[in-house]
Symmetry: C3
Subunit: 244 residues, 3 copies
């Protein structure tokens, strides 16, 4: 299974070209699953924390193409990583670094082979997709990979006390893992202090709460409402924690 995780946009001209490039080289019948194409634009840090929360819901054989790449065309490296049983391919700009830091072990390679017709602005199609297809087909040749001791940009294993994604319901996902947070913690954002509830149905319609979402992150929500709009939340907003 190939899993796409990008900021290419769901309804733009980029994902279709990536899929054509994948299908050209991947073994027939390989499933290509769109995980997310709306990683906040250019935001490798938010993307890194989202990816670390999401990848465990995909099977061990999965190959992730993770591309949020504002530096395309500059000197940043392209890397392949094997961590926690999955493969990850993307730019060396921190996007893979939270997965790497939290995994018991992560093997890293710099991608040195370059397609002859490599565009300067769409490595997703011209560099990463062929590499991903080859890995999915078990065709990984050492000729174009060079072992790498560590990633260049590392965000580390720690949680990120910020809003990292706002979904279409208006729920605000944070970079905080819920398992590490006591249930009597109040979450502060701007002037607002938010208490925990286990589930939407436990609070009255219209009330703000935080809960442990389905991928293990702390999420700010309003029952049958739009939290981001109600509170004016945006990706990058800082959070404070306080035991009540």
């Amino acid at each position: 299974m190939i899993v796409l995780f990008t900021d290419f946009g769901t309804d733009d001209i980029y994902v279709g070209q990536v899929k054509a490039a994948l299908l050209k080289r991947a073994p027939q019948g390989t499933a290509v699953v769109d995980l997310l194409h709306t990683v906040p634009n250019f935001d490798a840090r938010a993307g890194a924390h989202l990816l670390a929360a999401l990848y465990p819901f995909f099977p061990a054989a999965a190959v992730f193409m993770a591309v949020v790449d504002p530096g395309v065309g500059s000197a940043r490296d392209a890397v392949a990583m094997h961590a926690d049983g999955r493969w990850f391919v993307g730019p060396d700009n921190g996007l893979l670094s939270v997965v790497a830091a939290r995994a018991p072990q992560a093997q890293l390679w710099r991608i040195t082979g370059r397609a002859e017709d490599l565009s300067v602005s769409f490595h997703g199609r011209d560099l990463f997709a062929p590499m991903v297809a080859d890995i999915a087909g078990g065709q990984l040749t050492s000729g174009c990979l060079q072992e790498l001791p560590a990633l260049s940009v590392q965000f580390g294993p720690d949680d990120c006390a910020e809003i990292i994604y706002i979904d279409h319901y208006g729920n605000a996902l944070t970079g905080l893992r819920a398992e590490s947070l006591a249930r009597d913690t109040r979450l502060g954002v701007g002037d607002v202090s938010i208490a925990y509830a286990r589930v939407f149905a436990e609070v009255p319609a219209g009330e703000v709460f935080w809960y442990a979402n389905s991928v293990g992150l702390v999420e700010i929500a309003v029952n049958r409402g739009n939290a981001a709009r109600a509170l004016g939340l945006a990706v990058g907003d800082s959070l404070t924690l306080k035991r009540s």
Copy 2:
């Protein structure tokens, strides 16, 4: 064929996780088709009328995963239904009830088996997707299904004289079936009274009309324009009918 009909959003983190869960258990090569992920948020009634209009365009072997589920985590039941040759799986909150009420016969089961690692907020991934995959594979085991005489929430077979969906052209789909409406009927919404036309090309650019759309519903449109914006239409707006 598995068909997805949800309010999970086309460009969010939810559909990809559902697909991974489906692919894990469904027979290899099962097609998964995204019918709609933008059912109006939390609106089981609008969803019920949309689903009843849309499902006939899918083959008899299709298994629909229909999830619009504001009550996730509360006591609402999960159900499987066999009606008009197709399978439908979803929450027992009315979403499947218009299909059920209009079908000559509908067999119903409560889903009693529960995944061990069932999240409280994402039954689409953890409960419905595995059930849908099993049905698609003919692996339906009676162990986790209990026959049900009737759905708990029933919207009935009648048409819904409201706007139930606004598409990206700005066309407003209603819950009225066009075959039951005389062509000299004028449709009232707010202060506006709207006459019938057979097809877009029959009215001047910019003119409002209603027509029998491609799934058999009455739809309000503006030739080469945006009806929702021009008339200020929203999902839930009431409609009146008057013979002219």
Copy 3:
């Protein structure tokens, strides 16, 4: 491979129905790739220039279903075209005409067979999809095709000095092919005059530039910013060219 290029919207009820119609008739295992469903609404001319830029990134065996069809239900013809090794199926309203004009050779047929249950408003599902599936399966029967000497609506082979698409980053794609434009050309749009840069990383954050994008078109962008919002750009805006 079947490739979809439409203005049906990514998150609407139309694409899923098209896919069901395709899967019903196409050979098992045929890949269906969504290239674009957000061609500017009703804009066959912008679509024609986009399609001409995009199709070379798909394999020679690809069958394109290209539908931007404001005249559906009127007298416009439906056509099939074989050009540059690919198949294209769509309305004869100019959408296929830039590909046709630039290809060394284009064979054209009018689609004369009509599905019995042809809707008046959704030929994508009822007419074009079955034809595309048949071509993908090599089942093209001459019974429903009539040779055509030329398309009715022709935009010609020339570039289009307008903005033809704005992507989700806010980059504005033009109908100008970059290979024909000297790098010292300044691009004028409204009151603004824009200079060339090779790549995003070569200009400071926030600066406007034009570059040769990954599909060979001239594109207006802002490094780490939103060019369309910054400059108030819209599809259809005219461009001027001036050597500096």
